[in-house]
Amino acid sequence: MKSSVITFPGSNCDRDMDVALKKFGFKNKMVWHDDVELPKSDLVVLPGGFSYGDYLRCGSMASKSKIMTSVINFANSGGMVMGICNGFQILVETGLVPGVLLRNKYLEFICKNVFVKINNKKNTYFKNINKVLEFHIAHNEGNYFCTKDQLKEIEDNEQVAINYCDKDGKTEEQFNPNGSIKNIAGIFNKEKNVLGMMPHPERMIDHSLSGEDGSLFFNNLINNLK
């Protein structure tokens, strides 16, 4: 399986993602934002970080990068595109996934482990994962927001990917770290080939450093892609 990780000026999780993808069997290429052509890929990842210093709105500048025209075409033709953290912010700015990510409710930069419950397993990203996942979050703008009409459409189309919860999978407000509507931590496009999520699976791929739910995620992803 071939993957591509896009590096924007200010990306800082691109190399972590490269390490994670390679560890679980992807042949990964790093792609510079100013390139026009996307290498042949089974998966494209927009990594976390602070592209363009979060100027204007997080992800807004990066969403207009040269490479993004190719990424958008790739996604619209059914290609798998995953945006993590700042990558999620870039995805919402392209309009590939609905909604926006606002400042965290209590104006704090949040850096901690969280649990997420998979809301929709009928897709390549989460099919066959049957447990609550422990991932890491580190963000200032992860407060998912959309209009009432959009929320209805998102729910009708089963586009909510994951919700913040406790270790037993309870998705109550007290387990919502940032004020996101309905504890939403990740969203799909209608077709479920594009996934944006705030948590970082690439930070959970080593038992002695953090945890292994990221390993579970990437192993499952490459198996589902085969």
Partner: protein
Amino acid sequence: MKISVIITLKKDVLDPQGKVIHQTLDGMGFNNINEVRQGKYFEIDAKENDPKKAKDKVEEMCKKLLANLVIENYKIIDAQ
């Protein structure tokens, strides 16, 4: 031609920064405030002398980059 644009958050969008500014003003003794909403202001010096054309261009900029229409409104307030 200089054009000014104001971007504001839509009414039903939570503005935690505005809220904190409100609280701080309140703590400073400015007690008769109902609400504070924070926005953005842009001054764009366009290479265009026709006000109509310049405004149209800036409107396009607002829709494509300066504002996110899911949560924000824009208002072109001045062209001179």
